[in-house]
């Protein structure tokens, strides 16, 4: 287990999510694939946070101040915000899907074409 392996897993999951989000007709599956992509990005951010030396520490490895240590956790902070935004996104996305379903009795993205001119 090293950085490249974790990034490889993240990239594969992101590519699968991208493929699914572009090709599925059911809007709920599209949202599920977007969640897969969020998860892949989170894995990547945490892996980079764990393995890569931040600039604040690398700039002067001989005498690293205590305050520079927090830059080791930047990726984890990013992940927390991504999870927050993903939660907001899935709530809104599913609300939109349900609203479309109420009006058209269908959740297929190919059926929601009112704005296509």
């Amino acid at each position: 287990m090293n950085l490249e392996n974790v990034l490889l897993v993240g990239a594969i999951v992101f590519a699968i999510g991208l493929y699914g989000a572009l090709t599925k007709r059911n809007a709920i599956t599209v949202l599920m694939c977007i969640e897969l992509m969020f998860t892949a990005v989170n894995i990547t951010a945490v892996a980079l946070s764990r393995y890569v030396i931040p600039a604040a520490i690398a700039v002067n490895p001989g005498a690293v101040p205590e305050t520079a240590m927090q830059s080791l956790l930047t990726g984890q902070i990013f992940t927390i915000f991504i999870i927050t935004i993903a939660a907001a996104e899935i709530a809104l996305g599913l609300a939109i899907v349900m609203a479309i379903f109420r009006n058209k009795e269908s959740v297929f993205v190919t059926d929601a074409t009112e704005m296509k001119r």
Partner: protein
């Protein structure tokens, strides 16, 4: 002890890592390819749990707990709820006409990312520690940072990242109001 240097490169960690990784990838493929939407949602839960396992391996225990609480607990319940109420389970989970171009795009994306990942000279923390780049004090502090992440993340969230934290709260509030407005009977 620092970053678990003795255990980190052991074979057990490798086996666990590849087991989790393969199950995440298989679950992701199942999400895309299964006809039954409900089973696809259950495989999404497997992928989320696997990601939580990876976070534990990557010394991000707090993120792993948040992942289980929010993704496995809340988001998958929301998705399954939406699947059950839209009654599309029997209609299946069809592809649209974009399959070939989307696969090409995803493949190109994967190739580009993998090229960057393997061509970059990463500045790896463990290698620097093993080479003795840091003083003993610094190595000690790095080890402490990764073993006590929760109080550090808490301090960072309400100190350095307080603006982003507040903005995220406003975004969540706006999302709640937006979802309620969209779903309201009128």
């Amino acid at each position: 002890m620092i970053l678990g240097a003795g255990t980190e490169d052991s074979m057990v960690i490798d086996v666990v890592f590849w087991t989790i990784s393969v199950s995440i990838i298989v679950a992701a493929l199942a999400v895309v390819h299964l006809k039954d939407l409900f089973r696809a949602a259950l495989f999404l839960v497997v992928a989320f749990l696997g990601a939580a396992g990876l976070f534990v391996l990557l010394r991000a225990e707090f993120i792993a707990v948040v992942q289980v609480l929010i993704y496995v607990g809340a988001i998958s319940v929301l998705i399954i709820f939406a699947i059950m109420t839209t009654r599309e389970v029997e209609q299946g989970n069809p592809f649209n006409r974009l399959r070939a171009p989307a696969m090409t795009l995803a493949g190109l994306f994967l190739a580009g990312v993998l090229f960057v990942v393997f061509a970059t000279e990463w500045n790896i923390l463990d290698v620097a520690i093993a080479n003795g780049t840091f003083s003993a004090d610094t190595t000690q502090m790095i080890g402490e940072t990764f073993t006590t992440t929760v109080p550090r993340i808490a301090a960072l969230l309400i100190r350095d990242y307080v603006l982003a934290f507040e903005v995220a709260s406003v975004v969540l509030l706006a999302a709640i109001i937006g979802a309620l407005t969209l779903m309201r009977d009128r």
